[in-house]
Symmetry: C2
Amino acid sequence: MNNDIFTPLVSQIKGNIWTEGLFGLEKENIRVDKNGNLSLTPHPKTFGNKRKHAYVTTDFSESQVEMITPPLPTIKETVGFLETIHDIVSLELEDEYLWPQSIPPVLPDETLIPIARFDDEGKEAEQYREFLANKYGPKNQLFSGIHFNLSFGEKLMEMLYHKSNSVMTFEEFKDEAYLKVTRQMLRLRWLYVLLYGNSPVVDPSMELKCKQSPFTIDKHVIGLSIRNSCYGYQNIGELYPDYSSVQNFQQSIEQMVKDGKLASTKELYSSIRPKFIKDPKHITYVELRFIDIDPLTKAGISEEALHFLHAMAIYGLLSEEPDSFDATAQSHANQYHGYVSLYGLIPNPHANQEEADVWAKAKKHIQHMANLLQDLMVNNESIIKSIDVANKLIKNPKKRKVYEVLDGILQKGYVPFHLEKAKSYLNASQQKSYNFIGLEDMELSTQLLLREAVKRGILFDILDRKENFVRLKQNGNIQYVKQATKTSLDNYASILAMENKQVTKKIVREAGIRVPEGYEYTNAEAAKTDFALFKGKAVVIKPNQTNFGIGITILKENTDETTFFRAVDIAFEHDTSILIEEFIEGKEYRIFVINNEVAGILHRVPANVVGDGNKTIRELVEIKNQDLLRGKGYRTPLEKIQLGEAEAMFLKSQHKTFDDVPANGEVVYLRENSNISTGGDSIDFTDEIPDSYKQIAIKAASALNVKITGLDMMIKDYYQEARPDNYAILELNFNPAIHIHCHPYKGKNRKLNEKLMDALGFKTI
Amino acid sequence: MNNDIFTPLVSQIKGNIWTEGLFGLEKENIRVDKNGNLSLTPHPKTFGNKRKHAYVTTDFSESQVEMITPPLPTIKETVGFLETIHDIVSLELEDEYLWPQSIPPVLPDETLIPIARFDDEGKEAEQYREFLANKYGPKNQLFSGIHFNLSFGEKLMEMLYHKSNSVMTFEEFKDEAYLKVTRQMLRLRWLYVLLYGNSPVVDPSMELKCKQSPFTIDKHVIGLSIRNSCYGYQNIGELYPDYSSVQNFQQSIEQMVKDGKLASTKELYSSIRPKFIKDPKHITYVELRFIDIDPLTKAGISEEALHFLHAMAIYGLLSEEPDSFDATAQSHANQYHGYVSLYGLIPNPHANQEEADVWAKAKKHIQHMANLLQDLMVNNESIIKSIDVANKLIKNPKKRKVYEVLDGILQKGYVPFHLEKAKSYLNASQQKSYNFIGLEDMELSTQLLLREAVKRGILFDILDRKENFVRLKQNGNIQYVKQATKTSLDNYASILAMENKQVTKKIVREAGIRVPEGYEYTNAEAAKTDFALFKGKAVVIKPNQTNFGIGITILKENTDETTFFRAVDIAFEHDTSILIEEFIEGKEYRIFVINNEVAGILHRVPANVVGDGNKTIRELVEIKNQDLLRGKGYRTPLEKIQLGEAEAMFLKSQHKTFDDVPANGEVVYLRENSNISTGGDSIDFTDEIPDSYKQIAIKAASALNVKITGLDMMIKDYYQEARPDNYAILELNFNPAIHIHCHPYKGKNRKLNEKLMDALGFKTI
């Protein structure tokens, strides 16, 4: 090629900066019914307008769901995002599954294949699909796959640009880089297909046509990647764009349109496409389109495969180009790619020498890639591991995933094998319906909110991951949200009022709502002097700051001065200031108020098991801990019950051990405190608590002019309506968790993520 | 009296709880012109509607300003509040003063005395004043004084009630307590007048009339408290309410109205009034009305005098009543009070035995008061000191303040003496125009805001003093404000965006506004690798967290790799993560934006002095520190420049010492950092900075949807209009101080407290 400015840069920059970049995925999955037939139902209404939804739309067919991730800074996040979209879509389908294979499921007659329907402004999109159906046949349009959008890190590009001392502008420099990557990937794409191709078999209802003249029709092909072969989704006739410069590239494909070979430039189905997104004159990223769906992975693609592609792109940029990339060279590359796609599984006995040498060639390239990463001092584990895996697959091609798929198909049949996978993926989606995969380090409340953002087609940025600070955007509405419930809905003064417990009490009390009355003391004498004030009233005497109830005394009668004095002394043993408050009888409920509406009520119960007369406490705990809602380290809605020292101690105080067998129906508590973090249960009471209490909660929130709050209320007996003396408000929390109301131990999902989105003014797009 | 339930309670409760209570003051001051003549101008418009203003109104005359404090928990705060109102009123007068004496200044002819004028709804108030003018004469209505509203602590009353085992309700119990205090104070008020009476002399323009029949007119009386004597402000004829119960009291004064002795119950000018505020059937507090203005104190009343009154009230409650308080007893008490008021300075040679024994009686009561406080184990220093002072005055009556006033009048004349005082008080008010007296422990910004609240007649509560958390109320508008600028105007999400510097930068940058670009590094190697990125650009290399510029290197050229590497290493010596940012040339300005308006711009300069060719640096610092804006411990708008180690070191680096004499006009800096807290100067640039920069600040605030922010901007040269490359925004502060813009070292008061009040929707009432 014209003077290669990139190859010399190998020696200039070292380290993991080489692996920085932005990564996006697009995936198509056919919806099928429970028998594996193409679904004939419309695209799920949940996802609103398919022309506008950022993440979930349809491709050619109404039944061909397309899932799109934004560009993200790591492959792990990108795959997680895709899997999360996949989960969300799966959960919205009714008796349908996402078909986990690039080759279509059982298809009806061509005329029955539903073309994607759009709203009035999408008429052009519909017409284009009808044109495609006519030109290529609708069944052919149902090949599904994955597109990987890849760009190098902006900082890397900037440093390369500086090191190159190029006379080009920075934008031109990047164009050159992406064009080189495009050419090199077109030359090398067969290598990826050789290792990861995975569309080996076709259902007989598909009418396979090889697009290379003379067309052949064959219903019983077995290949490595039929989708990438001449039977797959290709343009009709040979088309060779000019990849020598951005201008030449654009002119060459515009010429194809003028010549009537393409209806429009987007009809060019090349395996790799340079994309012009931010600026029509410059390349933003390259789109790799030759990726088969991996039927063995819920997301349809493994991180490992993408890291390998990323390594190929870096290799492509920095390795020397063998020749110019004219029509002949392109044709040769296409032929080779086609050969590997079809015969990479079962070699063609009539193969030429180059074709027969495919494994040796692969081995050589992978060795070069490994050497390059070493030279660049890249120690990013994932990318290095992807090369190791590639090496293993070359040593033992039978380890390729396609064999497991083929075996499954041979054992169970094409449809049953894939359907079984689809069902198991749906089951997994249901079980982890609270996670945003790839963002599991963020709070569950935020993960739930972002899942809802995806569902509604709301764009978002993660502004500060550790702080759970995100930005949501839809049309003109921009919302900054931290920890799910810190939003623009609340004014700062109200937050500060909630944060200050004494101020909260004062305001709530002035609104005519009961709060525990009491006084703070900084010396024991003053507290004791006040005995007269509290005599005969039920009181709690407690250190101002306390954990786990240490130093707290509850005096329900409080007639004896000596006992009162002792309780004061005990409290002062644990803090320099104490509170004497009236004792409020009842159970504590967390009431989530949003925009003057009670959206969820929860009661928390200390870690416990219920006996069956046979199993030990230890066994009962183990069984209870199997619930997928329970995990460790606050990444699940509930925590596993521990069998630790604290639990042993608490059992001991009840004269029990872990090996005791509780009677049938006996409830055994393993903790005194009801925190979810120590294995407590959350129980939804939203429908049980009478409206009179809800009205009090709403009134308290209004008194502080608060839009979102988690209000803690003591209720003596919720079978009774609220009266002035049978409840009290303890506090209003300005950052209440939402996940506890969405995934309680017992009770309904109160969908607070949906309520939050409604409150923030976001609708389904 | 009927069975006294209070005296036995002496032994029941001990400690300072006895001195808890609520204390309010009302004070009248006549406005006078610069010659000491009654002002004939209208009440200052600043204070809006005098019928509605909570703190500043008029009494009988348009020229008689009445200042009212709310009930507050300490006497110190109450006096401070009153003095602050006094300051605020004084600063609003034009060429007028507040007359610091209960006896009126020079009066014009009766017909020229302006009666207070009200709005349409205040016609009744005007008519009543005209009735009083006719009945008592308008000059007589110009006697001014102080009313002290006093109630005991609610907790104290509750404990007393419990200890008393009374069959009364709690409200009835309190009524009995306040009635007893009223009776006892009526018996004892002479004691206060004896010590603190201070209206000894009358200007000849006043036509003194003794209200006791037969009326006498005398222009040359000298007395201890003419205001409290028969010449003072009293009802015509003898009126003896029935103080035996609330019901009897109310019936007896209603009877006086029926009998035509009073136009309405409020015309009863008794020295002590039980007040029915919260509930028309029960007493809320007692009003002590026999207090003369203290001409020697700016506030017109000393804390000491009020503590003594408070001690008298406690003494009154707990000491035995000598007899019933029928008409005879009341008449006797009135006579004795009248005697002391008139002859407490120069004894009447015709006094009866009881009158002659006044000092012995006083001594006995004060001894009893001291004993009582000891019995009650009260160790509140202020109240105990007030008894000590009383004892000293009894030992040496010439130490009474009235003698200093009398001496002043004799030396300078009645009008000149008081006018000189008035002028000195105005001067003091001007010098400390940033303080809210009694609340000096709060932040200056909050003090300034509360001063403005007083000016506009806005009610406020201090919700949390340490946190500077207040509530403002006017009509239906309730605002919670913390640290002056944390308000309901800002939404929580915007606050969080400002709090997170990276998020702020991102949003501001996206709005097309320049911020310093750069990267964060957690290892030196990565930072060094990036040299190429920064080569040839001016950069700042600094530890992520830094104080006082330690570890920071500025490289204006940055062409040498070795220097760059060294700077990286230095930064890493001070933190585990460092920032490399582009260096922004210029000076830093603090821009205060409120509701899309730039309200103030400030530049801060490190502590410095300007030489005169004669004085040493030490002397120049001492002179500069005399500015009343400079103090210690952040209680003033500026801090005193220290002559400490840091300053000595910094001078040393310039080869200077404190004893060097800078040349005339030479600026010597004593600090590198420009913080106000280390003696820096604040210089107002609001009018100097071109609008182009202001528009950028407003745009940045809008990008974050922020209503109140203190924005830090680097400006290269403010003589130039803003261009894309000659400024940068460093950060947006969500809790900017306002006092620095109100009281800068150089420049105008930008009145941000007024702007805040406007923004919060509060107008002058």
